[in-house]
């Protein structure tokens, strides 16, 4: 990426933050209504030991959920691709799981599963796995007809066709799903924690937001919010990098324009 490409959004960001701080000071808005960026940065620095611990907790749940979503979603997709019958029989249930709002199931899961971390993980997984599953199924079924015939002509086994043709062909679809799933895993983790509302040593950022709200520590609330956003952006960017590295040699989506 060229420097200029990074400069433009950075300039916009700085301008917005500057305007925000200016307006807050100009109208003397109290920090418990709307703190300025400086106050938020201050809170972030001051509460860093507390917030960084929560950041790690949330990050861990989101990443574990993503890992589960990738492995289970991917495996399920391969199973679906093996037979139309399996796909028809099970796909509707995956859709049911997807369209049910996680806020609605989270209380149930919290009741059924004793361990809070585990129930958060399950909630985040439910939100994250569907894009991986549906994209990978689509990718596995999108193999070029001529390629399929080529494999048949040379006597490829089912396994060889899966491994050498369908899976590599599904990779761009899978990665697109993964990128969406990365953001959703974080959302799922945060929403579930809001519902759980559990405190203690192992609390994530969502609980810090709730807690700061009760205690009217609004700058800290904003600091936790900023950390969630930063985490989401970092996950998205990291998965984008993975996507680019895996596809750059052959897929249109990862090509640099010539010239």
């Amino acid at each position: 990426m060229k420097i200029v490409d990074a400069l433009a959004p950075a300039a916009v960001g700085l301008a917005v933050l500057g305007g925000w701080e200016g307006l807050v000071r100009l109208y003397g808005v109290p920090p418990y209504v709307l703190p300025g960026p400086v106050a938020i940065a201050h809170a972030l620095a001051e509460d860093w030991p507390l917030l960084s611990g929560s950041l790690l907790v949330t990050l861990r749940i989101a990443l574990l959920a993503l890992l589960l979503a990738v492995s289970l979603g991917g495996l399920l997709a391969v199973a679906f691709a093996q037979s139309r019958w399996v796909e028809r029989a099970f796909f509707p249930y995956a859709v049911v799981l997807q369209v049910t709002p996680v806020v609605a199931i989270a209380p149930l899961i919290l009741i059924w599963v004793d361990d809070v971390t585990l129930s958060l993980l399950i909630c985040a997984w439910i939100v994250a796995f569907f894009p991986v599953l549906s994209n990978t199924v689509l990718g596995l079924n999108s193999a070029d007809r001529n390629h399929v015939e080529l494999f048949r002509l040379y006597g490829a086994s089912r396994w060889q066709t899966l491994w050498l043709l369908r899976l590599p062909g599904a990779l761009p679809f899978f990665l697109a799903g993964l990128r969406v799933a990365g953001g959703l895993a974080l959302i799922g983790a945060v929403v579930a924690e809001f519902v759980a509302g559990a405190g203690g040593a192992g609390s994530g950022l969502a609980f810090r937001i709730l807690e700061a709200g009760y205690q009217l520590k609004i700058p800290r609330l904003f600091a936790a919010l900023a950390l969630i956003s930063a985490l989401g952006i970092a996950i998205f960017a990291a998965l984008g990098l993975v996507q680019h590295l895996l596809l750059r040699r052959w897929h249109e989506s990862a090509m640099q324009p010539e010239g």
């Binding site: 080529l150 006597g155 050498l164 043709l165 590599p168 040699r249 052959w250």
Partner: protein, 245 residues
């Protein structure tokens, strides 16, 4: 010796289209057979039947058991995520041949089509003609006794096509492979083939068969010779006759 024999072969698709009817054809070892016909007359369908990629809905196809088929599709049909040499060694990989031999034979096949030094290039990084040559190398790597080609050069410019025509002829003359070559170009079929099958459409059937008696490795300047012109005229007349039927 007959490699493949078709007796009264017909093909009707589920949609009701009668693509082929009453095809009788013997493909002899070592010949270069061109299948010539207008678009939609069933050339590709016929080639797929010969390859065993589809089953006839009537009639019988008998194939010699020991044949090894190479198929070149109308498009290069390379795997975009694999580099040239990996694409070429795919048939060997599928046959479970060991890695070192795969690499050696694939490299030799790429060399044969003039692509030495492009082993690690991805399809995206190759021109259309180079991609087609990779595809031909992939068909050659199994040392097929029967090479089936579906308008392999249709998308290429004339100069490249002429060069690949000559390369193909040299290969055919040198290796004794049997070639079935689908084309809609009269000039290409006359230049290449030892026998031309002219097809008529709706339903697809054999309208005429022409033997080309020109010397097998075409002499230089053949494209501009009177003999070539005469053969092209005769073939064009046969094709026009087929289309008027």
């Amino acid at each position: 010796m007959t490699l493949v024999a078709l007796d009264g072969v017909g093909k009707r698709f589920a949609s009701g289209t009668e693509a082929l009817a009453g095809i009788d054809l013997r493909i002899g070892a070592g010949e270069f057979l061109a299948i010539l016909g207008p678009s939609g007359c069933g050339k590709s369908t016929l080639l797929r039947l010969i390859a065993g990629l589809a089953e006839p809905s009537s009639g019988r196809i008998t194939r010699q058991a020991s044949r090894q088929v190479g198929f070149v599709f109308q498009e290069a049909t390379l795997l975009p995520w694999s580099d040239a040499i990996t694409n070429v060694r795919l048939p060997l990989r599928l046959a479970g041949i060991d890695r070192a031999e795969q690499e050696a034979r694939a490299a030799a096949a790429l060399d044969q089509v003039g692509l030495r030094g492009f082993e690690r290039a991805y399809p995206r990084e190759l021109s259309g003609g180079m991609r087609m040559r990779v595809s031909i190398a992939r068909a050659l790597v199994t040392r097929p006794s029967l090479l089936l080609m579906d308008e392999p050069f249709a998308a290429l410019d004339e100069l490249t096509r002429h060069r690949l025509n000559d390369d193909l002829l040299a290969l055919w003359a040198g290796s004794g492979v049997t070639v079935v070559f689908v084309t809609h170009s009269v000039f290409e079929s006359v230049y290449l083939a030892s026998r031309i099958l002219v097809m008529a459409t709706r339903p697809g059937r054999v309208a005429a068969e022409l033997a080309m008696e020109a010397p097998a490795p075409r002499p230089t300047g053949f494209r501009t010779s009177a003999e070539y012109a005469a053969l092209c005229r005769a073939t064009t007349e046969a094709l026009e006759g087929a289309m008027a039927q």
